[in-house]
């Protein structure tokens, strides 16, 4: 320190001066560390905290750009979209009431409705169509962006199916006009699946390596499973997916040596490489069920 270089009344203590010198000397390195730290903070905390401001502001902006691109891209898939719509139409026509003869005194089970009494039927599930404006398959955390948002009745937690009722994913974030869904091919995705034949339920996850191939765990060795069996959604996950949406077809069954379970791999029913339209499924009873559950949990706590 040079004593004569500055007036004595502004004498800064030596330690403080050294700190300032240190910061000035290594400012670039400290700035680098700060930015790296901030990035890693974003990576670590993004999955747990849904920062509403961040996701809706950037989501709205990138959604607009993606939408413009999608307007062009849609033309290239018109024929394929048409084909799948014709198929979906065929399936729906086959479900028309007039195609069935009802033998008397036989009760009929309808997936889409809940019976309160024997005559009146209430709608439980509503299909809401949404265009896919962005979809990735190549990373380990794949998301699907939909061109429909909160203003158009989409909510967080809604299940998504493709045109042929194959499960695609679950909506995790909603902005005003856009929604982001966690694809089945996301390393954190967890859904309840069920074997169509035997009714055993297990957890469906993705290993993060092979696209379009998922695995289902917790299926005991006592169950008969073979390649070609269908896996459907169980209807009791936290999302609004109804029971019976197709998850995929079993391709490989290997017994796990260390546990009493099978390791089952299956190919997804939905083709993630070519998604143009999906349906979000709204469950009108979800709120009521949630409230009941909350009540039950609170009672549990009090005891």
């Amino acid at each position: 320190m040079l004593p004569n270089s500055q007036p004595p009344q502004f004498q800064i203590p030596r330690v403080v001066r050294n700190i300032f010198l240190f910061i000035r000397r290594y400012f670039t390195f400290l700035f680098f560390l700060l930015l790296q730290g901030f990035s890693i903070y974003l990576i670590v905390h993004y999955n747990t905290y849904h920062n509403a401001v961040f996701s809706s502001a950037t989501g709205q902006l990138t959604g607009k750009i993606n939408e413009q691109y999608n307007k062009v891209e849609d033309y290239f898939y018109l024929k394929k979209t048409n084909d799948s719509l014709v198929k979906a139409n065929e399936r729906l026509y086959n479900k028309l009431k007039q195609d069935f003869q009802l033998p008397d005194t036989v009760s009929k089970q309808v997936v889409d409705t809940i019976k309160i009494d024997s005559i009146a039927q209430y709608r439980k599930y509503t299909y809401l169509q949404a265009p896919v404006i962005q979809n990735s398959v190549s990373s380990q955390a794949n998301f699907i962006v939909l061109g429909r948002g909160r203003a158009q009745q989409l909510k967080e937690g809604m299940g998504l199916v493709d045109i042929n009722n194959g499960v695609v994913g679950v909506i995790t974030e909603v902005s005003n006009d856009y929604a982001v869904a966690m694809s089945l091919m996301h390393k954190n995705s967890q859904l309840d699946g069920k074997l169509l034949k035997s009714g055993e339920t297990g957890t469906v996850t993705w290993d993060g390596v092979t696209p379009n191939i998922l695995s289902i765990s917790r299926i005991p060795k006592s169950v008969k499973v073979a390649a070609g069996d269908t896996i459907i959604s169980s209807g009791n996950s936290t999302s609004t997916l109804p029971k019976g949406m197709i998850l995929g077809v079993v391709t490989e069954v290997t017994p796990d040596k260390s546990t009493n379970n099978y390791q089952i791999k299956f190919k997804t029913a939905a083709d993630f490489y070519n998604l143009q339209y999906v349906y979000a499924i709204d469950d009108s009873q979800q709120e009521a069920i949630k409230q009941l559950l909350e009540k039950a949990k609170q009672k549990d706590k009090q005891q």
Partner: protein, 177 residues
């Protein structure tokens, strides 16, 4: 002023090409074509280092916003932006070459070899850091190494094609002018 507009256009073009062309090509889970970070490799020599870091962060963050996974590319971009000047210092042969030209290229770095060492090394560092962060929970070393290797190979191929297709005019800046 002119160069600022040039870099803004470059920012947008690299981002659009990465998001709307390369990200839509699904070759294989292992092979992900990346070229966007060439923007950072092409930043001028004499740019303020803190500004470089900030621009790199914004650039990576923009790509992250398109992929709805904030943090990954921002971290990788900031890392190569920080390391870049050290490589330039080592690889530029004669004193003051970085003052004669605006930005790194085959010409300004004095030949093919130094330029491609510069590009190759930073590409590997970028990919390694990116995939390391992505593969944090998986822990499969071979998967990580192979992915880095394949992605680096295809990135270098893309960079060579870009260099051949888009010839950047490099003005020699003299003190007398």
């Amino acid at each position: 002023m002119g160069s600022l507009i040039k870099y803004i256009i470059r920012f947008a073009l690299f981002m659009l090409v990465q998001v709307f062309v390369l990200d839509r090509i699904h070759l294989n889970q292992m092979v992900t074509p990346y070229i966007y970070f060439l923007f950072i490799l092409w930043l001028p020599f004499n740019m303020n280092r803190n500004l470089q870091l900030l621009v790199a962060f914004l650039f990576g963050f923009t790509l992250d916003s398109f992929r709805h996974n904030p943090g990954f590319h921002a971290a990788a971009c900031v890392l190569i932006a920080y390391i870049r000047p050290y490589f330039v210092n080592i690889l530029i042969p004669q004193e003051g070459a970085d003052g004669n030209y605006d930005e790194p290229s085959v010409k300004s770095m004095g030949g093919m070899l130094p330029y491609f060492i510069y590009v190759g090394a930073l590409t590997i560092i970028h990919h390694a850091w990116l995939f390391l962060l992505e593969a944090w929970q998986f822990g499969s070393v071979w998967y990580f190494l192979l992915k880095t290797l394949f992605a680096t190979a295809i990135s270098l191929l893309l960079i060579i094609i870009t260099e051949l297709l888009f010839v950047r005019k490099q003005r020699f800046r003299t003190n007398t002018a």
